[in-house]
Amino acid sequence: MEVIPDQLFDVVVHAATEVFENMLFVSIYPVAGSSSLTGQVIHGRIRYQGPHSATVHLYLPADLALRLAGDFLGEGTPDEELVLDACAEVANMVAGRHLKSLSPDARLYRLAMPQVAVEIDPVAPPQARTFTTGRHLLQLALEVEQ
């Protein structure tokens, strides 16, 4: 299978857009150029294996993560542990939706466990793309293993 990272990235962007709209009730829009997130950022990531293997990275500023987790859980202000858990789950769902798009029938891919960390001024992979909710920036990256 020929892997074209840009095309794969478009698929993962579509998956993220769908998860944000359907599960988190937030629309995200691409931002031209590259931006980097500063301050406290929640980094969710999940690796998958199959005909090609890759890692999906999601970077959410802490205040956006708090708001999204609250909306997702139906709670006003969830504690930090729950916010991190929600971010890991969002990364998990984005990757799951991405794989469903890649292989709706064949189901050839296996997902690893999602990981999550709090990072200060994180350095996203060079291919990361930036999005906005209108109020907050976030970043998404797909690191394809060659």
Binding site: E18, G96, L108, Y109, M113
Partner: protein, 137 residues
């Protein structure tokens, strides 16, 4: 009839979302039990027999497939219906779930309305206010 649902997922977020989704769908669930993995679920199953188990697949320590396999080995657990909600959708896992007699599979992300018809045969719907109170008070 006392209705209870055991939700097994290492994500507290998913456990809360599934619980809220079941409640909002209008089912009468008297007790929600929660476990973070298959091992914790089996410990709970020694104490109580739920009406339904809703489980993830990928979990640390003991995953959903191992949990259902263990349930099928126990006479008093093998008839408890199991629904799987997971991002996992590989052929290998789907085939194994079918072999094990899983009654429903929902791939994440899921819409709330996808869950209700899958669990409906195993739990009771709430009586509507109108039916419970025909005088309309």
């Amino acid at each position: 009839m006392h209705t209870s649902v055991l939700i097994v997922d290492d994500s507290a977020t998913v456990r809360k979302v599934v619980k809220r989704t079941i409640n909002q769908a209008g089912f009468v669930i008297h007790t929600f039990l929660e476990a973070r993995n298959g091992r914790e679920a089996l410990e709970q199953l020694q104490q109580i027999t739920p009406s339904l188990v809703v489980t993830d697949i990928n979990m640390p320590e003991m995953g959903g497939i191992e949990l259902i396999e263990a349930m099928k080995r126990h006479t008093h657990l093998r008839d408890i219906p199991c629904v799987v909600i997971s991002t996992e959708g590989s052929h290998e896992v789907i085939d194994r779930m079918l072999e094990l007699g899983v009654v429903g599979f929902i791939q994440k992300p899921f819409r709330p309305e996808e869950l209700a018809p899958v669990i409906a045969p195993y739990v009771q719907m709430a009586v509507t206010t109108r039916a419970a109170d025909p005088m309309g008070f």
